[in-house]
Symmetry: C2
Amino acid sequence: MENLLAHRSIRVYKNKPVDQQLINEILEAGIRASNTGNMQVYSIVISTLPELIERLAPCHFNQPASKAPVQLTFCVDFNRFTKWCKQRKAEPSYDNFLAFFTGATDALLAAQNVCIAAESKGLGICYLGTTVYNAEKIIEILELPTGVVPIVTLVMGYPDEQPGLTDRLPLEAVVHNETYHDYSEDAINRLYAEKESSSLTKELLEINKKETLAQIFTDNRYSKKLFVDVSRTYLEVLKKQGFMNQ
Amino acid sequence: MENLLAHRSIRVYKNKPVDQQLINEILEAGIRASNTGNMQVYSIVISTLPELIERLAPCHFNQPASKAPVQLTFCVDFNRFTKWCKQRKAEPSYDNFLAFFTGATDALLAAQNVCIAAESKGLGICYLGTTVYNAEKIIEILELPTGVVPIVTLVMGYPDEQPGLTDRLPLEAVVHNETYHDYSEDAINRLYAEKESSSLTKELLEINKKETLAQIFTDNRYSKKLFVDVSRTYLEVLKKQGFMNQ
């Protein structure tokens, strides 16, 4: 519990490798996460070779965390399960969107278990959501076959920074009792007030020369062009890797 | 770490409510999970009213776990974020597939944190993947507006059973070193050998009158008809809730 509450993403790591035995212990805890029908339809590609990390870094826009010594690319994987079915006189039909989403769900639950196990062992972690943005290039570098799609990268290593806790919206902003209760204009103002008045927000507004924090999201960080482009390319990747036959 | 390794899904619960204060503590730990750009684009609907649980149960095929006293439906939620943007002179464009997948990723990482927090407090949990199968009905019951899609349900309560640990494939089956290494016929045979020779598998083969375990998946549990039907209906739901404009 204390570990969960103390989570910080770490973006700068010591130049110190992580012992293979420790990585395995962490992964053993990772794969204990719940998964759909115990099919385990995901794979984890661990990359630690410097030349491989260097090739992957541009896929993550060379952000500082992309230089971490251990990189785990979590993938939907129906390749292994489908091969098993075919070798066992069974007819698999996992080339559709539900198969993709099932694998993605399982992979993400395992990823979060890995994150918590790693932190409990004194390692730092950071998720790279950019995996989805440049999935095609990652597929090429990691040699992912049909039936396999990368969905998120979790990097880890020994922390070389001690960032503070990031803010969260108050619990009532994300929780609904019994059924969904839509937000009034007043409720939005109230729930975002603390975030908007923080010193971090003031700093961001100055750096980005924007009037509101929301504009930093819509204009700079998560623009329409980015979201439309990635939506299209990622759906193309799902098709190419064999997950859009429904 | 020990908690992660000891995880079991609990499907039968005591008829004992869970204290609201404890639920809140668990959720506070849940929302500390990493999320994309700290947008927190998800919502959690907590249902505990018996009449609501009764209405939701058929969406989960009335499986035993669907009777649990606390039901958390995790949803992608760009409704709140979009409303905030509009109130702040920003132009949001989160009506596309990347928005959906971003919210789903954040929601699933939070869900797994909730799971771990709940187990550390002596509660049992079970994921219901059926949320995706009957998303449209759940949207109606929980009154989810445009921009909100249910992706998974996590039920919890005080355990009234003590199931054994379920098996997992050996770690080497799901982990790839540096790049992906495809599976030979021999590798598949070796990696699935333990699972296939278990007493649970023998029991399942007898009950289902099947020759191989794989056939139980392809013919009974996760059939082509189910996967194609749900792929189509869930993509329709994504469209209807406003996530397919790219």
